[in-house]
């Protein structure tokens, strides 16, 4: 099958919009992806470094409160702390709003999809209520700048990010013979090392052993984070001496972040990593059982390009199988909501001017009912790729209810369902959906049937 602009928007992008022209070719998609990040400009999200309220804001507020206990200043200090908490909760919805605005109005949907794909690959969860709003800034800083570039750069940024360090307990891990461990009777924690090998690089089928996990954990000691400095390297808690990971010795001499970075860069271009990433991408975008030849070709192109992710995408987009009309994947709940709003052409101002209550009602709460509680997957392996995991009775109840009720809340004037079916599904919608859009009793039911249809939910 040759490239198809409708499939390009639906399968690799954020869905069709009556107002935004789809890409003209696979090369056009790659050109948009490797060009400037226009969507980030229309709906900015701060980086972890720039975000308000920051971890330092919280730390200062809690210190000020402790100092003010029993004085006249206690009430003001308490108020400041609860304001920060409230602002943090608001920021969660604010960043969700920005992500929706980007996805609904971008002409580079592939970038939004890849950003969420890699953010999911490097899943973090907030380990404290005061960090819940920091997931989007983590993605903005560590993931998004690298989605069309070097995987090693992304891996290094992620491992240096306080969100990942705190999520997988790396700040708690000390070399058993390090100065800090000796003084404080502490030691190793394998969590990040194991997930780095199992999830982030080689994959669970990759050629590593428990000994590699242990050695990598020892090598990672020293990588830590705090409120003031974010992610940083603290030599006093690093295990002295060299460590051997997958047969290569790293470190020795003075402990240094460079030894960790060297190992990460090697892991990033390991053949098992290339295969793991290629397979995962093909599964995410095209098919639960991708063609092995394509996966091999993607992995080979990636290794040839020294770990440049664009090379991998290029092979996937040039493959004829990617343009098969058979839609084997289903939209995850966020993509379902965003692509619905895109098909409805919800104006940018409507999204950006929505109140936080609106964002919660239109997106945050429905996401939970559909099984995708915002930025809270159960484990570090992120969200499921299986259609069966999403299209469940309760998941469909959530999707159908959203389809029938939310569009009329968001838009004053709903489009005519007989036009909308083409906005949402392109020039050749399936006959039964065309029929149903015409046969609905009300406009909002007509819109709802189109959005709830398998034809719209699949990609």
């Amino acid at each position: 099958m040759p490239f198809d602009p409708t499939i390009a928007e639906i399968r690799f992008g954020m869905g069709l919009s009556p107002d935004i022209a789809p890409p003209a070719s696979a090369d056009d998609m790659m050109a948009r992806l490797t060009g400037p990040d226009a969507a980030a400009v229309i709906a900015p999200i701060p980086t972890y470094t720039d975000v308000y309220p920051s971890s330092m804001d919280f730390r200062n507020a809690s210190r000020a409160l402790n100092a003010a206990r029993g004085t006249d200043g206690e009430e003001a200090a308490t108020e400041l702390q609860s304001k920060l908490r409230e602002d943090g909760r608001a920021a969660v919805a604010l960043f969700l709003q920005a992500e929706l605005a980007r996805s609904v109005h971008t002409n580079d949907g592939f970038r939004e999809r890849l950003t969420r794909f890699w953010a999911d690959h490097f899943t973090v969860r907030a380990t404290s209520g005061i960090r819940r709003h920091l997931v989007s800034p983590y993605i903005q800083e560590a993931i998004r700048p690298h989605v069309a570039g070097s995987f090693a750069d992304m891996l290094v940024a992620v491992v240096g990010s306080p969100m990942m360090i705190l999520f997988l307990d790396q700040h708690q891990s000390m070399g058993p013979n390090s100065r800090t461990a000796q003084q404080r009777d502490r030691g190793l924690n394998e969590n990040l090392a194991r997930e780095l090998l199992e999830l982030h690089t080689l994959g669970v089928g990759g050629g590593y052993t428990q000994t590699d996990v242990r050695e990598l954990a020892e090598l990672l000691t020293g990588v830590t984070a705090n409120a003031q400095r974010g992610g940083y390297f603290r030599a006093q808690q690093a295990e002295p001496g060299a460590e051997t990971v997958l047969g290569v010795s790293y470190g020795g001499g003075d402990a240094s972040l460079d030894h960790v970075t060297a190992a990460l860069r090697d892991l990033a271009v390991h053949p098992d990593t290339a295969r793991h990433l290629a397979h995962k991408l093909a599964v995410h975008f095209v098919s639960p059982e991708p063609d092995d030849a394509v996966v091999q070709a993607m992995a080979a192109a990636y290794l040839d390009a020294d770990g440049d992710l664009s090379a991998m995408y290029d092979v996937l987009l040039q493959d004829e199988g990617s343009w098969s009309p058979e839609a084997l994947k289903v939209k995850q709940p966020f993509d379902f909501i965003a692509s619905s709003m895109r098909a409805l052409a919800v104006p940018l101002d409507t999204i950006l001017n929505a109140t936080l209550q609106d964002v919660r009602r239109v997106a945050q709460r429905p996401l939970s009912v559909m099984g995708q509680t915002w930025q809270s997957p159960v484990g570090p392996d992120g969200w499921s790729e299986d259609a069966e995991n999403w299209i469940t009775p309760q998941g469909m109840a959530g999707r159908i209810t959203w389809s029938m009720k939310i569009p009329r809340d968001v838009l004053d004037d709903l489009p005519d369902p007989r036009d909308f079916v083409f906005h949402a599904l392109g020039p050749t919608p399936p006959e039964p959906v065309l029929f149903a859009a015409n046969a609905a009793e009300t406009v909002s039911d007509g819109i709802g049937i189109v959005l709830a249809s398998a034809a719209f939910q699949r990609r």
């Binding site: 924690n189 499921s384 009775p393 309760q394 009793e441």
Partner: protein, 405 residues
């Protein structure tokens, strides 16, 4: 040769369920047995050594210098050898009533790579490993497959997450207590039209509409459940009103009706750091869940078995951050009026250096599937050969541990 066809011939069920005086005509319409089985998957790898502490083993204290056990950890003595972690104290009432117990030093056949996700898949698939495309279905679903003619409401997977343990060819229901659905009959017909050729969407939508309707029709059953819970002293010990409590309430309301099997998960057991605190979160969720089931099931509790299974145990030694890393052997917790509680059973392997698996983990002395199989044997009356061949292929159940009363 065709095992399944043979089983559908009716040989799968022994006589105990059918002969039970508890089987009412209404229950017979849904399933040919009356007992209730609740399977709770504890995701994240519960530390069996900390929950059911073998404090009578002289080697335990040295392995866990800060994760205090026994008296030092304010645990409650159970039998002179084992003690119950302080976070699980609310379950002592059930222990004393003989309705809460544990099996120790057990695991699935999964070894060595210690991945949560593969470990959970193996636990729920009930298979020795993941080779041969082993993830076709879960063992609870295979249990349903051997009993012909069951209605989907006989088994419920509850919550937002996928429960592989109940997934498979046999019909089972899935629902989350926070889901709602009301649509016009016209829209409902049009949904049938647009989903006609897509079985995944067609079946999920039809089930959603049917379950939502059922629930609104059975409002009186839910009201009864609420009344019973309001009157039950058990509910005083329930500490929260979180999602897990809503799931347990929903499970209880279904199980009081035609549902015989319910499964859901409780997350948060991956206690790599500060386990003294972090274990408390999972413990509270599990306590609340069991106590809510106890209260919500009323008289049905007496014929109920709750099995709490986890993908693997954790390292015998505490790690360097006051927690534990991924291990092998662990414990299965169980509760319910149909089971013989007030005991911790299992062959204890010891914790000396040479006793550990891979010099780091509690050595499993028995396959946890043996216990699940024996519970299904006793509760539902399934043949041993069916259990060893169709439900847990290749399992040898070994001697009966006598969990079912």
């Amino acid at each position: 040769m065709d095992r399944r066809r043979f089983l559908i011939g009716g040989a799968a069920l022994g006589c105990s369920a059918a002969a039970s005086p508890l089987v009412t005509p209404v229950a017979m319409a849904a399933a040919p047995w009356d007992a209730r089985l609740v399977v709770v998957i504890l995701r994240g790898a519960m530390d069996g050594l900390d929950v059911i502490q073998p404090y009578g083993d002289a080697d335990l204290a040295a392995l866990r210098p800060t994760l205090l056990t026994g008296e030092a950890g304010e645990a409650t003595d159970l039998d002179g050898f084992y003690a119950l972690n302080r976070h699980f104290e609310p379950l002592m009432g059930l222990w004393n009533a003989g309705q809460f117990g544990a099996v120790h030093a057990v695991s699935t056949p999964y070894r060595d790579k210690r991945s949560h996700f593969d470990g959970q898949d193996i636990l729920e698939a009930g298979l020795p490993d993941l080779s041969g495309g082993g993830l076709r279905d879960g063992w609870l679903n295979r249990m349903l497959q051997v009993v012909p003619g069951l209605e989907p409401e006989v088994a419920f997977a509850i919550g937002r997450e996928q429960m592989l343990v109940l997934a498979g060819d046999a019909p089972a229901s899935r629902w989350s207590p926070d889901a709602r659905l009301q649509i016009s009959s016209n829209a409902r017909q049009l949904l049938n039209v647009v989903h006609h050729d897509d079985p995944l969407f067609r079946d999920a939508s039809a089930a959603a509409i049917e379950i939502a309707e059922q629930i609104s029709l059975q409002g009186d059953v839910d009201a009864q459940t609420e009344d019973m819970m309001a009157q039950s002293p058990m509910m005083e010990a329930v500490q929260s009103n979180g999602e897990h409590v809503k799931i347990a309430e929903f499970a209880a309301s279904r199980l009081r009706g035609d549902t015989r099997i319910a499964s859901f998960s409780i997350n948060g057991w991956d206690t790599h750091a500060r386990q003294g605190n972090t274990l408390g979160r999972g413990a509270r969720a599990l306590n609340d869940t069991i106590l809510t089931l106890r209260a919500g099931l009323g008289p049905v509790w007496d014929k109920t078995a709750v099995l709490c299974l986890t993908e693997f145990g954790r390292t015998a030694r505490e790690n360097g951050s006051l927690g534990t890393d991924h291990g092998t052997g662990g414990a299965m917790l169980y509760a319910g009026g149909a089971l013989r509680g007030g005991q911790v059973i299992g062959e204890w392997p010891g914790l000396a250096e040479g006793d550990l698996y891979d010099q780091r983990d509690l050595l499993p002395t028995r396959d946890v599937r043996d216990y699940a199989a024996w519970v299904m044997r006793g509760l539902i009356g399934l043949d041993q050969s069916t259990l060893e061949q169709a439900i847990f292929p290749g399992l040898q159940m070994g001697p009966n541990p006598g969990l079912v009363l």
